[in-house]
């Protein structure tokens, strides 16, 4: 089964640049559906990236982050072929995670 997370981590010099996309509706709670009913808020609150057992990046998100969120950051101290773990949890307690290799 496909993961909700797509991630690409590329090492260049001593810096690893990470780009990730998560499939998520990111409903803000302000949008109405076709029946005029408000769609309840449903959004990712925390995304955590971990390398070698250490957090390298954390995102705290509110409902203002776009649907199918994109994130880009970079960090130092990784080697080619290392594992990078991403996980997220949303306001309903749903969660997913993914382990990618640094290229």
């Amino acid at each position: 089964m496909a993961s909700t997370i797509r991630m690409r981590a590329v090492l260049s010099g001593d810096t690893t640049e990470v780009q990730a996309l998560v499939q998520h509706p990111m409903d803000s709670g302000f949008v109405k559906d076709s029946h005029g009913e408000l769609i309840p808020p449903h959004y990712i609150e925390v995304v955590a990236f971990e390398h070698a057992g250490k957090p390298v990046f954390t995102a705290y998100w509110g409902p203002a982050v776009s649907k199918d969120p994109y994130i880009k950051f970079s960090f130092k101290g990784a080697q080619k072929g290392d594992d990078l773990t991403v996980s997220w949890v949303d306001n309903k307690g749903a969660t997913d995670s993914f382990v990618g290799k640094i290229q």
């Binding site: 302000f30 971990e50 390298v56 969120p69 994130i71 880009k72 773990t85 949890v89």
Partner: protein, 167 residues
């Protein structure tokens, strides 16, 4: 897809299965080789700055998040479009040349809840981040960078032709 929406926080089936696998590995003496726990985000969920995200004005959100007044700084750079045709997806990047950065936050002043995103920056991670935000209407976008014991800011007016918060 695999969102387990009905499961209790932190005890999804996924986490339980992974815990079981980790336990099995530990039993076989392979604990040291076991990968990092993927439930990291769930563990951090308690640190999500709930108060700051619930504030309805820019000033209150900054106060709830950092508890101090930011000073404008040229060392904070905020990259956002002049005109966003679609308020649902506005690409925004923040970076800084300041040292000892501990946190970056992005606010959209006119949104119902101005605080859009907050990124703690651990040592070794570059103080730069790109993401995509929703904007209800034309608004000032504010980037905040916490460095040392101060908070610095940069802001930019982004014109929105179609709002991204429905209505």
């Amino acid at each position: 897809m695999k969102q387990n929406a009905g499961a209790a926080p932190g005890r999804t089936r996924r986490a339980v299965v992974q815990a079981a696998i980790a336990g099995a590995l530990a039993g076989a003496g392979l604990a040291a080789a076991a990968p990092a726990t993927p439930a990291l985000a769930a563990a951090d969920a308690g640190k999500w700055p709930k108060d700051a995200f619930a504030q309805k004005t820019e000033a209150d959100a900054i106060k709830a998040l950092y508890g101090k007044t930011p000073e404008p700084s040229e060392k904070v750079s905020l990259d956002a479009p002049e005109i966003a045709e679609n308020g649902a997806v506005v690409p925004i990047s923040v970076s800084t040349t300041l040292a000892n950065v501990t946190s970056i936050a992005i606010l959209v002043a006119e949104n119902p809840f101005p605080l859009a995103a907050n990124y703690p920056i651990p040592p070794g991670t570059a103080p730069a981040v790109s993401n995509r935000l929703k904007m209800a209407k034309t608004s000032k976008v504010i980037a905040l960078v916490a460095s040392g014991d101060k908070v610095f800011s940069a802001s930019k007016e982004v014109k929105v032709t179609v709002g991204g918060c429905g209505g």
